[in-house]
Amino acid sequence: MWTLARKLLLHDRLRFAVAIAGVSVSVMLVLVQVGLYFGFMDTASSLIDASSADLWVGKAGNESFEFASPFDERTYYKVASTPGVEHAERVLMNFAQFKLADGGDLGVQIVGIETTGLPMLAPWHVIAGDVKRLAEPGAIVVDRTEYSKLKIDHVGHTTEVSGVRAEVVAMTKGIRSFTTSPIVFTDLRTARSYMPTLGSDAVTYVLVKVKPGVSPLVVKAQIDQLPHLAAYTTHEMSERTRNYWSTRTGVGAGFFTTAILGVIVGFVVVGQILYSGTLQYIREYGTLKAMGARNSMVVRVILAQAMISAALGFVVGGVLAFGMQAAMAKANLTVALFPSLYGVTLVVTIAMCSFAALLSIVKVLRLDPASVFKG
């Protein structure tokens, strides 16, 4: 049956090529679009995901991760002294003006962290310099990928943020912000000096590590009792941020609409190809039924053709998606391709091709075996 299906498909090479092209484009669109979406989402939550905190505590009412309202040190101490908290760290995040080499200014996202010991949030993927120097006043860490915006390609570069001295002590690679403003890591004190309007003891997040054996959820519930604060597990915080950007920007709907269009295109192309093949061989299919082949057998021949198209199209589309991933990486776009995405796409492809075969299947089911003797 597979042999028959394969030979029927391959007999008309052009038609076969069109079918495979249809499925491939569809598979590629789904993978790249959904992959881009997840790439964006990974970027949106990258700071959170990179932290080793159990809980993120911020002001209640914060909508987005980036545009969070600050609070003061007293609140930080309340969090730090909550039962079950082993260790708490302050993070100050906000936007500031970064002076470029050509004299212009660029808005950057300052991430002020505590730099003593092993902080729960710190620059990662360091490719040059020494992150330990971040504790020095005015020390900053920028990302190599933001070169096109910051025009910085070496450690030691000095500039000003909000008119205050800044020196690049280390560079990372691949830490990108979801907002268009590059991420700049500094020590908490330096961050405060860059953002004087927030006050000298501003904090936007407190990262919490709970004591061994204590459930983060229990501690979270206790912190939630404190006035004006909301605590989230790192996973929740990550999800919140992704959801915020996904729904606020409509980026999710955009990517998924394109992916769905891709599926529709594949569906129409494969359906059309299978149907024209079925019509071409309708007399032969009728002959099979006349000879005594059961409907299920004939249907299987058609479904097998759909499955061969699905499998080959999936492989070709999958490889194309890899190519697109590499090409887009050059444009600083992350296409997140991962096994479960491939898995779901395979299922979608099989479903798409099966449904595309439906018209052909109905056609052969309705085919009257007596038609073989009709002129």
Binding site: T3, L4, L288, M291, N295
Partner: protein
């Protein structure tokens, strides 16, 4: 094996063996009310092993309708169709494929071979379609193609075969699953005279030496010499059965 040249050695009248199939007063009316067309009216016919039956008659007389009912492709609106010792005329499409697969092989004017499949694949696929549990369908297909003298053409596509060869492939395919009855609707109409006669010779041989019942619709009186009997159909009625002394 070669088809035996039997053109001048007509076999004797069929032995008094039990019929393989039997039409009893079968009729077919297409449509209802004002549009009703009576295609067949009270046709009776016994199909015996080893016999070649030709069905002749003017266009529109009901020949195709007759053999479609016989081949269980079409249900009669009246009368009975006996196969395997029972009346199957009221059975539905659920039961018919199995009965067709066991009892009939079909050949057509247009051969109806899959152009994408070689002679061998066409036959093997039919064997498998008739019986998905068939053992070694390719070996069996090869044997059947050798039987119809196409042992050297098994890997050819239909497009690379002559009309007569294509019809032989179709006959080999019809023989797949070893059915006792071969039914053809003008199987020689698309062939030149010489080829037509050789295809008919093959069918005659299958009847004589392999006990098949062959039922063939034709317009060609030159085929009569291969037949044990000629059934004439007019206006949906069997008007005469020649060569039959029953």
């Amino acid at each position: 094996m070669n088809a035996l040249a039997l053109s001048d050695t007509l076999p004797g009248i069929a032995p008094a063996s039990a019929p393989l199939a039997r039409l009893v007063e079968t009729g077919k009316v297409y449509g209802t009310g004002e549009n009703a067309v009576t295609a067949l009216a009270g046709a009776s016919l016994d199909i015996l092993p080893g016999q070649v039956t030709l069905i002749e008659g003017p266009s529109g007389s009901g020949k195709t309708t007759l053999i479609s009912i016989l081949g269980l492709l079409l249900r009669p609106t009246s009368g009975q169709v006996w196969i395997e010792g029972r009346d199957v005329s009221r059975l539905g499409e659920r039961d018919l494929p199995g009965l067709r697969a066991r009892n009939f092989g079909f050949v057509f004017q247009g051969f109806n071979l899959f152009p994408a499949l070689t002679a061998l694949d066409n036959v093997a696929m039919a064997i498998q379609m008739k019986d998905p549990t068939a053992k070694n369908p390719r070996g069996e297909a090869r044997r059947l193609l050798e039987m119809v003298d196409l042992g050297s053409r098994v890997d050819h596509l239909p497009a690379d075969l002559s009309g007569g060869q294509k019809q032989r492939v179709a006959i080999a395919r019809a023989l797949g699953g070893n059915p006792p009855i071969l039914v053809g609707d003008e199987p020689t109409a698309a062939l030149d005279t010489k080829t037509a006669l050789s295809v008919m010779e093959l069918l005659r041989d299958l009847a004589t030496n392999r006990g098949r019942a062959v039922v063939v619709v034709t317009h060609d009186p030159r085929l009569e010499k291969y037949a044990d009997r000629v059934v004439k159909v007019e206006d949906g009625r069997v008007v005469s059965i020649s060569g039959e002394n029953v």
